[in-house]
């Protein structure tokens, strides 16, 4: 029990260290701040005085004003309200997609990398097939089968992310499985499942966390792309991609309609990407305690 507490506090300490180092960079801290703002807006959208659904046809395509900071859309709805509620759509899709991709991809990678043999071949060929399909095409095909909904978009984006997690997990396991601490656990009678999930996985988490951040940005972009192509979350549910799709038709009359949601989408993806890159750079320089345990 004490050993587990020590391990937890060590992990917390190294996480805080990583966060501290990341925050030292201005670009990363700005990205953190923006993402926090987007996340807070998405979580607390219901308590804000914003209504994304009420139409006011008499006030359609109004420019930004004190009553509607981002202006109104073609149905007279508040664009700011739809951007805020659209953040909820994007973040829920991103979070759900990452969870699905990790829950399926990581075990596949662990099993393939740990056992090698025919299991590795079969699983990796399946992953290769999934990789060969363009993400957007695969997601559209899946939505055609499942129907157009947020759940369908989330599942489609999640499945598209499975190969990345599987390949990274497999590479990590292959690097770790021959190391001494794994051999030690095996000599004490640790079973395959125990070794994979309790011994190797905790030591392979860092690149997987980076992958989760990268996939989150890809998921947001993919969800927006699906909505832009008209197969995302059905209206009137707000979605950044849907706003871009409709707003592009009004670029002459109401340029802010497409530009502002597009800007928020761009900054969100940029923020995820910046954090992901910074984290990768930190890990590559062995700045945390985690790599040492990997025996490098």
């Amino acid at each position: 029990m004490a050993a587990r507490r020590d391990a937890m506090s060590a992990m917390l300490g190294s996480t805080l260290q990583v966060l501290r180092r990341l925050s030292a960079r201005r670009s990363t801290s700005l990205s953190f701040a923006f993402l926090l703002l987007v996340a807070l807006a998405a979580v607390f959208a219901d308590v804000l005085p914003l209504d994304p659904l009420t139409q006011n046809l008499a006030d359609s395509l109004m420019p930004p004003s004190s009553s509607a900071w981002f202006g109104t859309d073609e149905l007279g709805r508040d664009i700011l309200a739809r951007v805020v509620y659209g953040a909820r759509t994007s973040l829920v899709t991103a979070f759900g997609a990452v969870v699905i991709a990790a829950l399926i991809g990581v075990p596949i990678g662990l099993v393939a990398g740990f056992f090698g043999d025919w299991r590795d071949s079969v699983l990796m060929r399946c992953i290769d097939v999934l990789l060969a399909l363009p993400n957007i095409l695969f997601a559209m095909a899946l939505i055609a089968v499942l129907g157009r909904s947020q759940a369908a978009a989330l599942v489609a984006v999640g499945i598209a992310g499975i190969p990345n997690f599987a390949r990274i997990a497999r590479a990590q396991v292959m690097a770790l499985r021959q190391l001494d601490f794994v051999t030690a656990v095996r000599s004490f009678g640790g079973g395959s499942s125990y070794i994979m999930f309790r011994t190797i996985l905790p030591n392979a988490l860092s690149p997987l966390v980076v992958q989760a951040i990268v996939l989150a940005s890809i998921a947001i972009l993919l969800e927006a792309a699906l909505a832009f192509l008209g197969v995302g979350v059905p209206p009137p549910t707000p979605s950044w991609g849907e706003m871009l799709r409709t707003g592009k038709s009004y670029l002459h009359e109401a340029p802010t309609y497409a530009v502002l949601p597009g800007l928020v989408l761009t900054l969100t993806i940029l923020s995820f990407d910046t954090i992901g890159r910074a984290l990768t750079a930190l890990l590559d320089r062995h700045d945390t305690g985690v790599p040492e345990r990997r025996g490098r």
């Binding site: 046809l57 073609e74 149905l75 157009r148 059905p234 009137p236 038709s249 670029l251």
Partner: protein, 513 residues
């Protein structure tokens, strides 16, 4: 240096002042228009060269490669074209058509009665007749007493307007080219085909043997296909094209305010909220009638079609003989009236919301106006979801009747009123949505009454009034607005645009100032 005396200046000024109104009053076609190459942006790829496939995707070529037997003015008055005269029998069971002499097909073959007979044969064939087939349902048989005369016999007395609609719909195809007309044009039109790059465009050149004097004005006609409305607008604004044909109403409204010429013809479409009255709550008549008052027609017209069109409560364009503006006022957007009818339906709240609205996801206007109706339904306590489908999936559901309610446009709304039955929701038999037997026999009887009203004006008007009354009472289709199809947006250097009754593109009169 040449000097002008005060006297010369005054005389010249008076002469100019006198001549200016005269010049302005000349019709565009009569002005001295110049030839050249007319560049036209279109937003859809041509399906084929068959003039009996009167789909909007073919609208830009049909009247340029072919001529019809007669034409309508924008006001609906018949005019000779390949038929120089036509005589309707007193009992209205036949029409005799005299064909124009001195006309040749693009191949050089003289235009004679054999080509009209071959065209009639094709139109009457359910497999090859395409859009003409349903119009041929009134025709019994036909004959050619000589090379310049064709007689068409009808199954029963037919109203004069319906006979004229048939002649206007008949576009002669060269007899020997009838089997290959989808891929090789076989007409008498003002332009001949030069080349086609599928997905990119089409090049035509002036027919040197065309029978209309001094037409066509331009020597070359080039169509370029644009996949985006905005790209076509940009091409016009940059001078890369001279005309946009069949662009969106919104772009046309913007370009008009920027100084471009916008021409809209009489051949409008009418947007209709189609109700499958064989399903769920829509079997209830009172529930359906509430939808007459749930349509925010003004909002739908403004948001979906940039205000270009008219709000209507009947499936007729203003040019239709059955058009009656009083229905638009009587069945205006009124949530209180809608609520009263919903209450009278006796349906529970759960029954009322037990359906989804099918939406054409490929059509931006449909998505927008469906959301307007969705919001109106929410206000009267009927929260429903949108079932958005794309492309072929939507078309299949629409034409197969696999929906509870959906927006879909109807055409042929400016001609003889019973032509509305060419649209699937208004079919009186073999209706793919309402099926057989037709669930609204009063509507079927009203259409039959219109078709049979070949007597005096009072009888005809009474039949139209009866049809209008039945349509709002049965409420299986709720029209909301007419809107433009085949809009022409032109630069200011172009003149001579001819408005066609079906809004087909007619390039033969267009030239450069």
């Amino acid at each position: 240096m040449t000097t002008v005396s005060r006297r010369q200046f005054c005389i010249g000024g008076i002469a100019l002042a006198a001549a200016a109104p005269l010049a302005m009053s000349l019709p565009a076609a009569a002005q001295q228009l110049k030839g050249g190459t007319l560049r036209v942006a279109v937003l859809s790829e041509l399906a084929n060269y068959d003039p009996q496939q009167l789909s909007t995707v073919n609208f830009h070529v049909i009247k340029n490669l072919y001529d019809s037997l007669i034409e309508y003015t924008p006001e609906g008055k018949p005019e000779p074209s390949l038929a120089t005269e036509w005589t309707i029998a007193p009992d209205k069971t036949s029409v005799s058509v005299k064909l124009r002499d001195g006309v040749a097909f693009h191949s050089g073959t003289p235009f004679k009665a054999d080509s009209v007979l071959a065209t009639l044969q094709k139109g009457a064939d359910p497999k090859r007749g395409k859009n003409v087939f349903s119009t041929m349902s009134i025709v019994k048989d036909w004959s050619a007493p000589d090379d310049r005369t064709v007689v068409i016999n009808f199954k029963a007395p037919v109203p004069e307007r319906q006979i004229l609609d048939l002649l206007q719909f008949l576009i002669p195809i060269e007899a020997k080219g009838i089997d290959t007309v989808e891929t090789v044009p076989a007409g008498t039109g003002p332009f001949t085909l030069v080349s086609r790059a599928v997905g990119q465009g089409l090049r035509l050149k002036a027919n040197p043997n065309y029978w209309r004097e001094k037409q066509p004005i331009v020597q070359d006609l080039v169509f370029t296909v644009f996949s985006e409305d905005a790209a076509a607008s940009a091409a016009l604004e940059s001078g890369a094209v001279d005309i946009i044909y069949n662009g969106s109403s919104r772009s046309a409204a913007r370009l008009k305010s920027a100084g471009y010429q916008v021409f809209s013809g009489p051949g409008k479409l009418v947007q209709v909220f189609r109700i499958n009255s064989t399903r769920g709550p829509f079997r209830n008549k009172s529930y359906r009638q509430a939808f007459n008052h749930l349509m925010d027609r003004a909002g739908i017209l403004r948001v979906g079609y940039a205000g270009m069109g008219e709000v209507v409560a009947q499936p007729w364009a203003p040019a239709s003989p059955a058009f009656d503006a009083s229905y638009t006022k009587a069945y205006a957007y009124d949530l209180d009236k809608a609520k009263a009818l919903l209450a009278a339906s006796g349906l529970s709240a759960a029954e009322m919301k037990d359906w989804k609205m099918l939406v054409n996801g490929s059509d931006e206007a449909s998505v927008q106006i469906s959301q307007i109706v969705q919001a109106s339904l929410g206000k009267v306590g009927i929260p429903i979801e949108l079932d958005i489908r794309q492309g072929a999936e939507f078309v299949s559901a629409l034409l197969g009747g696999d929906f509870a309610a959906v927006f879909g446009a109807v055409g042929n709304v400016q001609k003889f009123p019973s032509r509305v039955t060419t649209n699937s929701i208004y079919r009186t038999s073999q209706n793919p949505i309402l099926k057989d037997p037709h669930p609204h026999p009063t509507y079927v009887a009203a259409i039959a009454k219109v078709d049979g009203a070949s007597g005096g004006a009072a009888e005809v008007k009474a039949s139209y009034d009866n049809l209008n009354k039945v349509l709002v009472e049965e409420a299986f289709a709720i029209p909301t607005n007419s809107y433009e199809v085949g809009l022409i947006v032109a630069s200011d250097k172009v003149a001579g645009v001819t408005l066609e009754i079906d809004n087909l593109f007619v390039a033969r009169t267009i030239g450069f100032k």
